[in-house]
Protein backbone atom coordinates (compact mmCIF):
# COMPACT_ATOMS: atom_id res chain seq x y z
CA UNK A 1 0.00 0.00 0.00
CA UNK A 2 1.81 3.13 -1.19
CA UNK A 3 1.18 6.57 0.30
CA UNK A 4 2.67 9.91 -0.61
CA UNK A 5 3.91 12.00 2.30
CA UNK A 6 3.93 15.73 1.61
CA UNK A 7 6.29 17.79 3.73
CA UNK A 8 5.90 21.48 4.52
CA UNK A 9 8.92 23.53 3.42
CA UNK A 10 10.61 23.90 6.82
CA UNK A 11 10.52 20.10 7.23
CA UNK A 12 12.26 19.28 3.98
CA UNK A 13 15.82 19.92 5.14
CA UNK A 14 15.55 16.83 7.33
CA UNK A 15 14.55 14.73 4.29
CA UNK A 16 17.34 15.69 1.91
CA UNK A 17 15.24 18.52 0.53
CA UNK A 18 12.37 16.37 -0.75
CA UNK A 19 8.90 17.91 -0.90
CA UNK A 20 7.20 14.54 -1.07
CA UNK A 21 8.22 11.03 -0.21
CA UNK A 22 6.70 7.69 -1.03
CA UNK A 23 6.24 4.92 1.53
CA UNK A 24 4.70 1.48 1.82
CA UNK A 25 2.53 1.62 4.92
CA UNK A 26 -0.87 0.37 6.06
CA UNK A 27 -1.28 2.63 9.08
CA UNK A 28 0.41 5.56 10.82
CA UNK A 29 2.39 3.20 13.06
CA UNK A 30 4.00 1.44 10.13
CA UNK A 31 4.54 4.79 8.40
CA UNK A 32 6.35 6.04 11.52
CA UNK A 33 8.60 2.97 11.46
CA UNK A 34 9.37 3.47 7.76
CA UNK A 35 10.24 7.12 8.32
CA UNK A 36 12.47 6.14 11.23
CA UNK A 37 14.31 3.62 9.06
CA UNK A 38 14.76 5.81 5.99
CA UNK A 39 14.84 9.37 7.34
CA UNK A 40 16.09 9.28 10.93
CA UNK A 41 16.64 13.06 10.97
CA UNK A 42 13.03 13.68 10.03
CA UNK A 43 11.83 11.03 12.49
CA UNK A 44 13.71 12.71 15.33
CA UNK A 45 11.70 15.85 14.69
CA UNK A 46 8.20 14.64 13.86
CA UNK A 47 7.90 11.62 16.16
CA UNK A 48 7.71 11.31 19.91
CA UNK A 49 7.83 7.81 21.37
CA UNK A 50 7.20 6.41 17.90
CA UNK A 51 4.06 8.45 17.34
CA UNK A 52 3.42 11.56 15.28
CA UNK A 53 2.89 14.64 17.30
CA UNK A 54 5.17 16.97 19.08
CA UNK A 55 5.04 20.09 16.92
CA UNK A 56 3.49 18.79 13.73
CA UNK A 57 -0.03 18.01 12.63
CA UNK A 58 -0.72 15.05 10.37
CA UNK A 59 -3.53 15.01 7.84
CA UNK A 60 -4.68 11.86 6.05
CA UNK A 61 -6.38 12.81 2.78
CA UNK A 62 -7.15 16.17 4.33
CA UNK A 63 -8.52 14.90 7.66
CA UNK A 64 -6.69 15.63 10.92
CA UNK A 65 -5.26 12.28 12.03
CA UNK A 66 -6.17 13.03 15.65
CA UNK A 67 -9.82 12.71 14.71
CA UNK A 68 -9.27 9.31 13.04
CA UNK A 69 -8.72 6.94 15.91
CA UNK A 70 -7.15 4.08 13.99
CA UNK A 71 -4.71 5.89 11.67
CA UNK A 72 -5.62 3.45 8.92
CA UNK A 73 -3.86 4.23 5.64
CA UNK A 74 -5.39 1.49 3.49
CA UNK A 75 -7.02 3.10 0.46
CA UNK A 76 -5.57 6.49 1.44
CA UNK A 77 -3.31 8.43 -0.88
CA UNK A 78 -1.74 11.40 0.83
CA UNK A 79 -0.34 12.12 4.27
CA UNK A 80 0.49 15.76 4.87
CA UNK A 81 2.87 16.78 7.66
CA UNK A 82 2.55 20.45 8.62
CA UNK A 83 4.02 22.44 11.48
CA UNK A 84 1.44 22.97 14.24
CA UNK A 85 0.50 26.63 14.05
CA UNK A 86 -2.66 28.61 14.28
CA UNK A 87 -4.14 31.72 15.61
CA UNK A 88 -7.21 33.74 15.55
Amino acid sequence: MSVTVRLATPLRAAAQGSASLSFEATDLGSLAREITARYPELAARVLRDGEFGRFVNVFIDGEDARFLDDGDLRGKRTVEILPAMSGG
Binding site: P10, R54, G62, F67, P83, S86, G88
Partner: protein
Protein backbone atom coordinates in the same frame (compact mmCIF):
# COMPACT_ATOMS: atom_id res chain seq x y z
CA UNK B 1 10.85 48.08 -2.60
CA UNK B 2 12.52 46.82 0.57
CA UNK B 3 12.26 49.33 3.40
CA UNK B 4 15.27 49.05 5.61
CA UNK B 5 14.68 49.83 9.24
CA UNK B 6 17.40 50.45 11.70
CA UNK B 7 17.17 47.72 14.30
CA UNK B 8 17.14 49.49 17.61
CA UNK B 9 16.16 46.53 19.74
CA UNK B 10 18.76 44.40 21.49
CA UNK B 11 17.50 41.26 19.76
CA UNK B 12 19.71 38.24 20.34
CA UNK B 13 17.93 35.82 18.05
CA UNK B 14 15.04 33.38 18.14
CA UNK B 15 15.00 30.80 20.93
CA UNK B 16 13.01 27.58 20.75
CA UNK B 17 10.50 27.26 23.60
CA UNK B 18 10.89 23.48 23.46
CA UNK B 19 14.55 22.58 22.91
CA UNK B 20 15.95 25.99 23.96
CA UNK B 21 18.33 26.29 20.99
CA UNK B 22 19.07 29.94 20.08
CA UNK B 23 18.90 30.56 16.33
CA UNK B 24 19.40 33.49 13.99
CA UNK B 25 16.41 35.80 13.44
CA UNK B 26 16.25 35.15 9.71
CA UNK B 27 13.11 34.11 7.84
CA UNK B 28 12.66 30.88 9.84
CA UNK B 29 9.38 30.63 11.71
CA UNK B 30 9.77 27.32 13.52
CA UNK B 31 12.74 25.71 15.24
CA UNK B 32 15.12 24.08 12.79
CA UNK B 33 16.02 21.43 15.38
CA UNK B 34 12.62 20.24 16.62
CA UNK B 35 9.96 22.27 14.72
CA UNK B 36 8.89 23.79 18.02
CA UNK B 37 7.77 27.40 18.41
CA UNK B 38 10.54 30.03 18.38
CA UNK B 39 10.42 33.32 20.27
CA UNK B 40 12.58 36.43 19.96
CA UNK B 41 15.08 36.81 22.78
CA UNK B 42 16.50 40.11 23.97
CA UNK B 43 19.52 41.35 25.83
CA UNK B 44 17.58 42.59 28.81
CA UNK B 45 19.97 42.20 31.70
CA UNK B 46 21.91 45.34 30.80
CA UNK B 47 18.93 47.67 31.10
CA UNK B 48 18.45 49.95 34.09
CA UNK B 49 14.83 49.70 35.22
CA UNK B 50 14.39 53.36 36.13
CA UNK B 51 15.90 54.59 32.90
CA UNK B 52 13.74 52.13 30.98
CA UNK B 53 10.57 53.27 32.78
CA UNK B 54 11.36 56.88 31.92
CA UNK B 55 12.06 56.03 28.31
CA UNK B 56 8.76 54.17 28.08
CA UNK B 57 6.92 57.09 29.69
CA UNK B 58 8.32 59.42 27.02
CA UNK B 59 7.39 56.99 24.24
CA UNK B 60 4.44 57.15 21.86
CA UNK B 61 0.89 56.50 23.03
CA UNK B 62 0.88 53.13 21.34
CA UNK B 63 2.39 49.70 21.85
CA UNK B 64 5.64 51.04 20.36
CA UNK B 65 6.42 52.63 23.73
CA UNK B 66 7.74 49.12 24.52
CA UNK B 67 10.03 49.04 21.46
CA UNK B 68 12.93 47.87 23.64
CA UNK B 69 10.97 44.68 24.31
CA UNK B 70 9.87 44.12 20.71
CA UNK B 71 11.76 42.47 17.85
CA UNK B 72 11.27 45.20 15.24
CA UNK B 73 11.23 48.98 15.16
CA UNK B 74 8.08 51.04 14.68
CA UNK B 75 7.22 51.51 11.01
CA UNK B 76 6.73 55.18 10.13
CA UNK B 77 3.62 54.46 8.12
CA UNK B 78 1.32 52.67 10.57
CA UNK B 79 -1.50 54.03 12.73
CA UNK B 80 -1.26 53.89 16.53
CA UNK B 81 -2.25 50.55 18.05
CA UNK B 82 -2.65 49.77 21.74
CA UNK B 83 -2.30 52.00 24.82
CA UNK B 84 -5.92 51.23 25.59
CA UNK B 85 -7.64 52.07 28.90
CA UNK B 86 -7.34 49.94 32.01
CA UNK B 87 -10.35 50.91 34.09
CA UNK B 88 -11.77 49.89 37.44
CA UNK B 89 -15.03 47.98 37.13
CA UNK B 90 -16.74 48.29 40.53
CA UNK B 91 -20.33 47.69 39.40
CA UNK B 92 -19.42 44.67 37.32
CA UNK B 93 -17.25 43.50 40.21
CA UNK B 94 -20.16 43.73 42.63
CA UNK B 95 -22.37 41.83 40.20
CA UNK B 96 -19.96 38.93 39.74
CA UNK B 97 -18.40 38.87 43.19
CA UNK B 98 -14.92 40.31 42.59
CA UNK B 99 -13.84 43.14 44.89
CA UNK B 100 -10.84 44.49 43.03
CA UNK B 101 -11.78 44.24 39.39
CA UNK B 102 -10.28 45.94 36.33
CA UNK B 103 -11.14 45.84 32.65
CA UNK B 104 -8.44 46.14 30.03
CA UNK B 105 -10.57 47.60 27.26
CA UNK B 106 -8.81 46.39 24.15
CA UNK B 107 -11.97 46.71 22.10
CA UNK B 108 -10.65 50.24 21.41
CA UNK B 109 -8.12 49.51 18.73
CA UNK B 110 -8.12 50.66 15.09
CA UNK B 111 -9.99 47.59 13.84
CA UNK B 112 -11.79 47.08 17.17
CA UNK B 113 -9.92 44.06 18.54
CA UNK B 114 -6.64 43.23 20.25
CA UNK B 115 -5.52 41.54 17.03
CA UNK B 116 -4.25 44.95 15.89
CA UNK B 117 -1.38 44.35 18.33
CA UNK B 118 0.09 41.15 16.87
CA UNK B 119 -0.57 42.52 13.39
CA UNK B 120 1.31 45.77 14.11
CA UNK B 121 4.45 43.79 14.93
CA UNK B 122 4.00 41.29 12.08
CA UNK B 123 3.41 44.18 9.69
CA UNK B 124 6.61 45.90 10.81
CA UNK B 125 8.46 42.68 10.08
CA UNK B 126 6.76 42.32 6.68
CA UNK B 127 7.88 45.85 5.77
CA UNK B 128 11.37 45.10 7.02
CA UNK B 129 11.46 42.06 4.72
CA UNK B 130 10.11 44.11 1.80
CA UNK B 131 6.99 41.95 1.35
CA UNK B 132 4.12 43.38 -0.69
CA UNK B 133 1.34 41.04 0.51
CA UNK B 134 0.17 40.04 3.97
CA UNK B 135 -2.28 37.26 4.74
CA UNK B 136 -3.84 35.29 7.58
CA UNK B 137 -6.12 32.45 8.62
CA UNK B 138 -8.69 33.98 10.95
CA UNK B 139 -11.76 33.43 13.08
CA UNK B 140 -12.80 36.98 12.15
CA UNK B 141 -10.90 39.61 14.10
CA UNK B 142 -7.47 38.89 12.74
CA UNK B 143 -8.90 39.25 9.23
CA UNK B 144 -10.02 42.79 10.01
CA UNK B 145 -6.71 43.68 11.63
CA UNK B 146 -4.68 42.38 8.68
CA UNK B 147 -6.97 44.05 6.15
CA UNK B 148 -6.79 47.40 7.94
CA UNK B 149 -3.01 47.24 8.34
CA UNK B 150 -2.56 46.39 4.66
CA UNK B 151 -4.81 49.27 3.61
CA UNK B 152 -2.93 51.67 5.84
CA UNK B 153 0.40 50.63 4.33
CA UNK B 154 -0.54 50.14 0.68
CA UNK B 155 -0.05 46.37 0.77
CA UNK B 156 -2.17 43.62 -0.71
CA UNK B 157 -4.07 41.37 1.72
CA UNK B 158 -5.58 37.91 1.56
CA UNK B 159 -7.64 36.78 4.52
CA UNK B 160 -9.08 33.29 4.93
CA UNK B 161 -12.00 32.67 7.28
CA UNK B 162 -14.51 29.90 7.98
CA UNK B 163 -17.67 30.58 5.96
CA UNK B 164 -19.60 30.78 9.25
CA UNK B 165 -17.61 33.81 10.49
CA UNK B 166 -19.67 36.76 11.80
CA UNK B 167 -20.84 38.61 8.71
CA UNK B 168 -19.97 42.07 9.99
CA UNK B 169 -16.36 41.00 10.43
CA UNK B 170 -16.15 39.60 6.90
CA UNK B 171 -17.77 42.70 5.44
CA UNK B 172 -15.38 44.90 7.40
CA UNK B 173 -12.31 43.09 6.10
CA UNK B 174 -13.64 43.36 2.56
CA UNK B 175 -14.33 47.08 3.00
CA UNK B 176 -10.66 47.58 3.84
CA UNK B 177 -9.92 46.17 0.40
CA UNK B 178 -8.67 42.74 1.37
CA UNK B 179 -9.45 39.68 -0.72
CA UNK B 180 -11.69 37.77 1.69
CA UNK B 181 -11.79 34.03 1.09
CA UNK B 182 -14.60 32.19 2.86
CA UNK B 183 -13.79 28.53 3.30
CA UNK B 184 -16.32 25.80 4.01
CA UNK B 185 -15.37 24.07 7.24
CA UNK B 186 -13.94 24.83 10.65
CA UNK B 187 -11.13 27.22 11.51
CA UNK B 188 -8.79 24.25 11.71
CA UNK B 189 -9.59 23.35 8.11
CA UNK B 190 -8.93 26.95 7.07
CA UNK B 191 -5.71 26.70 9.02
CA UNK B 192 -4.58 23.63 7.13
CA UNK B 193 -5.23 25.31 3.78
CA UNK B 194 -3.27 28.33 4.92
CA UNK B 195 -0.36 26.31 6.25
CA UNK B 196 0.00 25.04 2.71
CA UNK B 197 -0.45 28.43 1.04
CA UNK B 198 1.97 30.04 3.48
CA UNK B 199 4.46 27.50 2.24
CA UNK B 200 3.84 28.00 -1.43
CA UNK B 201 3.10 31.73 -1.81
CA UNK B 202 5.73 34.24 -0.84
CA UNK B 203 3.32 36.26 1.33
CA UNK B 204 3.77 37.48 4.84
CA UNK B 205 1.32 35.10 6.48
CA UNK B 206 1.06 36.76 9.85
CA UNK B 207 0.13 33.65 11.82
CA UNK B 208 2.50 31.31 9.96
CA UNK B 209 5.60 32.71 8.32
CA UNK B 210 5.61 35.83 10.52
CA UNK B 211 4.35 34.04 13.62
CA UNK B 212 7.35 34.67 15.92
CA UNK B 213 6.84 38.41 15.35
CA UNK B 214 3.05 38.28 15.34
CA UNK B 215 2.97 36.57 18.72
CA UNK B 216 5.27 39.21 20.24
CA UNK B 217 2.62 41.86 19.71
CA UNK B 218 0.35 40.08 22.17
CA UNK B 219 2.83 40.75 25.00
CA UNK B 220 2.07 44.44 24.88
CA UNK B 221 -1.37 44.14 26.48
CA UNK B 222 0.23 43.00 29.75
CA UNK B 223 3.05 45.56 29.44
CA UNK B 224 0.33 48.22 29.39
CA UNK B 225 -1.60 46.73 32.30
CA UNK B 226 1.59 46.70 34.40
CA UNK B 227 2.46 50.29 33.53
CA UNK B 228 -1.13 51.42 34.15
CA UNK B 229 -0.96 49.78 37.60
CA UNK B 230 2.15 51.89 38.33
CA UNK B 231 4.53 49.13 37.37
CA UNK B 232 2.98 46.24 39.22
CA UNK B 233 1.65 42.99 37.89
CA UNK B 234 -2.01 42.37 38.69
CA UNK B 235 -2.58 39.39 40.98
CA UNK B 236 -4.80 37.71 38.41
CA UNK B 237 -5.57 38.00 34.73
CA UNK B 238 -8.39 36.25 32.87
CA UNK B 239 -7.45 35.61 29.25
CA UNK B 240 -9.70 34.52 26.36
CA UNK B 241 -8.09 31.59 24.57
CA UNK B 242 -8.30 30.76 20.87
CA UNK B 243 -4.93 29.53 19.65
CA UNK B 244 -3.34 30.31 23.01
CA UNK B 245 -0.93 32.90 21.62
CA UNK B 246 -2.29 35.70 23.79
CA UNK B 247 -2.15 33.56 26.93
CA UNK B 248 1.35 32.20 26.39
CA UNK B 249 2.73 35.64 25.48
CA UNK B 250 1.11 37.12 28.55
CA UNK B 251 3.42 34.84 30.50
CA UNK B 252 6.39 35.85 28.34
CA UNK B 253 5.55 39.49 28.99
CA UNK B 254 5.42 38.93 32.75
CA UNK B 255 8.80 37.20 32.64
CA UNK B 256 10.35 40.09 30.70
CA UNK B 257 8.85 42.70 33.02
CA UNK B 258 10.39 40.89 35.97
CA UNK B 259 13.70 40.27 34.25
CA UNK B 260 14.15 43.95 33.43
CA UNK B 261 13.16 44.96 36.95
CA UNK B 262 10.23 46.97 35.59
CA UNK B 263 8.03 45.14 38.10
CA UNK B 264 8.70 43.22 41.30
CA UNK B 265 8.39 39.48 41.35
CA UNK B 266 4.89 39.34 42.83
CA UNK B 267 2.52 36.40 42.33
CA UNK B 268 0.75 36.60 38.98
CA UNK B 269 -1.85 33.99 38.16
CA UNK B 270 -3.07 33.44 34.61
CA UNK B 271 -6.55 31.96 34.05
CA UNK B 272 -8.05 30.75 30.77
CA UNK B 273 -11.55 31.58 29.55
CA UNK B 274 -13.18 29.51 26.82
CA UNK B 275 -16.72 28.84 25.58
CA UNK B 276 -18.07 25.39 26.44
CA UNK B 277 -18.61 24.66 22.73
CA UNK B 278 -14.87 24.90 22.14
CA UNK B 279 -12.88 24.57 25.35
CA UNK B 280 -9.90 22.30 24.67
CA UNK B 281 -7.59 24.31 26.95
CA UNK B 282 -10.03 24.95 29.82
CA UNK B 283 -11.11 21.31 29.78
CA UNK B 284 -7.47 20.16 29.95
CA UNK B 285 -6.77 22.50 32.88
CA UNK B 286 -9.88 21.44 34.79
CA UNK B 287 -9.12 17.80 34.10
CA UNK B 288 -5.85 17.94 36.03
CA UNK B 289 -3.68 19.89 33.56
CA UNK B 290 -3.67 17.01 31.09
CA UNK B 291 -2.72 17.15 27.41
CA UNK B 292 -5.06 19.11 25.15
CA UNK B 293 -7.54 17.06 23.15
CA UNK B 294 -8.59 18.88 19.99
CA UNK B 295 -12.26 19.65 19.40
CA UNK B 296 -13.42 18.55 15.98
CA UNK B 297 -16.58 20.61 15.54
CA UNK B 298 -16.58 23.76 17.67
CA UNK B 299 -20.07 25.14 18.30
CA UNK B 300 -20.32 28.45 20.13
CA UNK B 301 -21.57 32.02 19.81
CA UNK B 302 -18.01 33.08 20.57
CA UNK B 303 -16.89 32.26 17.05
CA UNK B 304 -13.70 34.30 17.40
CA UNK B 305 -12.50 31.71 19.94
CA UNK B 306 -13.56 28.65 17.93
CA UNK B 307 -10.15 27.09 17.39
CA UNK B 308 -10.46 23.36 18.04
CA UNK B 309 -6.79 22.47 17.73
CA UNK B 310 -4.92 25.35 19.37
CA UNK B 311 -1.24 25.49 18.44
CA UNK B 312 -0.31 26.98 21.81
CA UNK B 313 -2.79 24.79 23.68
CA UNK B 314 -0.39 22.56 25.59
CA UNK B 315 1.85 25.57 26.12
CA UNK B 316 -1.09 27.41 27.68
CA UNK B 317 -1.93 24.55 30.03
CA UNK B 318 1.68 24.41 31.21
CA UNK B 319 1.79 28.14 31.84
CA UNK B 320 -1.52 28.20 33.70
CA UNK B 321 -0.32 25.40 35.94
CA UNK B 322 3.06 27.01 36.61
CA UNK B 323 1.41 30.34 37.47
CA UNK B 324 -1.04 28.74 39.90
CA UNK B 325 -3.93 29.66 37.62
CA UNK B 326 -7.13 27.92 36.67
CA UNK B 327 -9.73 27.99 33.90
CA UNK B 328 -13.44 28.05 33.19
CA UNK B 329 -15.66 27.15 30.29
CA UNK B 330 -19.02 28.87 29.95
CA UNK B 331 -22.26 28.27 28.04
CA UNK B 332 -23.56 30.44 25.22
CA UNK B 333 -26.35 31.73 27.46
CA UNK B 334 -23.79 32.76 30.10
CA UNK B 335 -21.72 34.47 27.41
CA UNK B 336 -24.64 36.51 26.14
CA UNK B 337 -25.76 37.41 29.63
CA UNK B 338 -22.22 38.46 30.54
CA UNK B 339 -21.90 40.69 27.45
CA UNK B 340 -25.11 42.44 28.44
CA UNK B 341 -23.95 42.75 32.05
CA UNK B 342 -20.58 44.22 31.07
CA UNK B 343 -22.25 46.74 28.78
CA UNK B 344 -24.92 47.79 31.28
CA UNK B 345 -22.68 47.96 34.35
CA UNK B 346 -19.53 49.48 32.88
CA UNK B 347 -20.43 50.95 29.49
CA UNK B 348 -18.14 48.60 27.60
CA UNK B 349 -19.75 46.82 24.68
CA UNK B 350 -17.81 43.66 23.94
CA UNK B 351 -18.11 40.96 21.36
CA UNK B 352 -18.85 37.44 22.66
CA UNK B 353 -15.17 36.78 23.51
CA UNK B 354 -15.55 39.51 26.15
CA UNK B 355 -18.65 37.79 27.46
CA UNK B 356 -16.64 34.57 27.73
CA UNK B 357 -14.08 36.36 29.91
CA UNK B 358 -16.66 38.01 32.16
CA UNK B 359 -18.67 34.80 32.57
CA UNK B 360 -15.48 32.82 33.22
CA UNK B 361 -14.38 35.37 35.85
CA UNK B 362 -17.73 34.96 37.57
CA UNK B 363 -17.35 31.18 37.55
CA UNK B 364 -13.81 31.46 38.94
CA UNK B 365 -15.03 33.85 41.67
CA UNK B 366 -17.71 31.32 42.63
CA UNK B 367 -14.93 28.75 43.03
CA UNK B 368 -13.04 31.16 45.36
CA UNK B 369 -10.11 31.41 42.96
CA UNK B 370 -9.78 35.13 43.79
CA UNK B 371 -10.11 34.74 47.55
CA UNK B 372 -6.79 36.54 48.06
CA UNK B 373 -8.76 39.77 47.35
CA UNK B 374 -6.08 40.64 44.83
CA UNK B 375 -6.50 42.69 41.68
CA UNK B 376 -8.19 40.89 38.82
CA UNK B 377 -7.75 42.11 35.24
CA UNK B 378 -10.15 40.96 32.53
CA UNK B 379 -8.88 41.17 28.96
CA UNK B 380 -11.77 42.51 26.88
CA UNK B 381 -10.34 41.81 23.45
CA UNK B 382 -13.05 42.57 20.90
CA UNK B 383 -15.74 45.16 20.27
CA UNK B 384 -19.46 44.44 20.25
CA UNK B 385 -19.99 46.65 17.23
CA UNK B 386 -18.22 44.21 14.94
CA UNK B 387 -21.38 42.65 13.65
CA UNK B 388 -22.03 40.15 16.42
CA UNK B 389 -25.00 41.94 17.94
CA UNK B 390 -28.50 40.56 17.77
CA UNK B 391 -31.47 42.91 18.18
CA UNK B 392 -33.76 39.91 18.59
CA UNK B 393 -34.18 40.52 22.33
CA UNK B 394 -35.83 43.90 21.78
CA UNK B 395 -39.55 44.58 21.91
CA UNK B 396 -41.36 45.23 18.64
CA UNK B 397 -41.37 48.85 17.43
CA UNK B 398 -44.14 51.14 18.71
CA UNK B 399 -46.16 53.95 17.14
CA UNK B 400 -45.11 57.54 17.99
CA UNK B 401 -47.59 57.59 20.86
CA UNK B 402 -46.92 58.25 24.56
CA UNK B 403 -49.65 55.91 25.83
CA UNK B 404 -48.43 53.07 23.67
CA UNK B 405 -44.89 53.69 24.98
CA UNK B 406 -46.04 53.61 28.64
CA UNK B 407 -48.08 50.48 28.07
CA UNK B 408 -45.35 48.60 26.24
CA UNK B 409 -42.63 49.57 28.73
CA UNK B 410 -44.65 49.51 31.95
CA UNK B 411 -42.30 47.09 33.72
CA UNK B 412 -39.22 49.18 32.91
CA UNK B 413 -40.88 52.37 34.09
CA UNK B 414 -41.92 50.66 37.33
Amino acid sequence: MAITLERITPLRGLRCRACQVLQPADTRYICAECYGPVEPEYDLAASDANALREKIARGPHSLWRYADLLPVAEPASHFPVGWTPLVRAPRLGAAIGIANLFIKDDSRNPSLSFKDRPVAVALARALELGLDTIACASTGNLAGAVAAAAARNGLRAFVFVPATTDEGKIAGAAAYGATVVRVLGTYDQVNRLCARLADEEGWGFVNFTLRPYYAEGSKTILFECAEQLDWRLPDHVVVPVGSGALLTRTATAAAQLRQTGLVDDTPFRIHAAQPAGCAPVSDAVLDGYREVRPVRDPNTVARSLAIGAPADGDGSVGIIRASGGSAASVSDAEVQGACALLASTEGVLAEPAGGVVVAAAKALATRDVFDDNGSVVLYITGNGYKGTLDAGLLKPPIAADADEFRAAYAEVLG
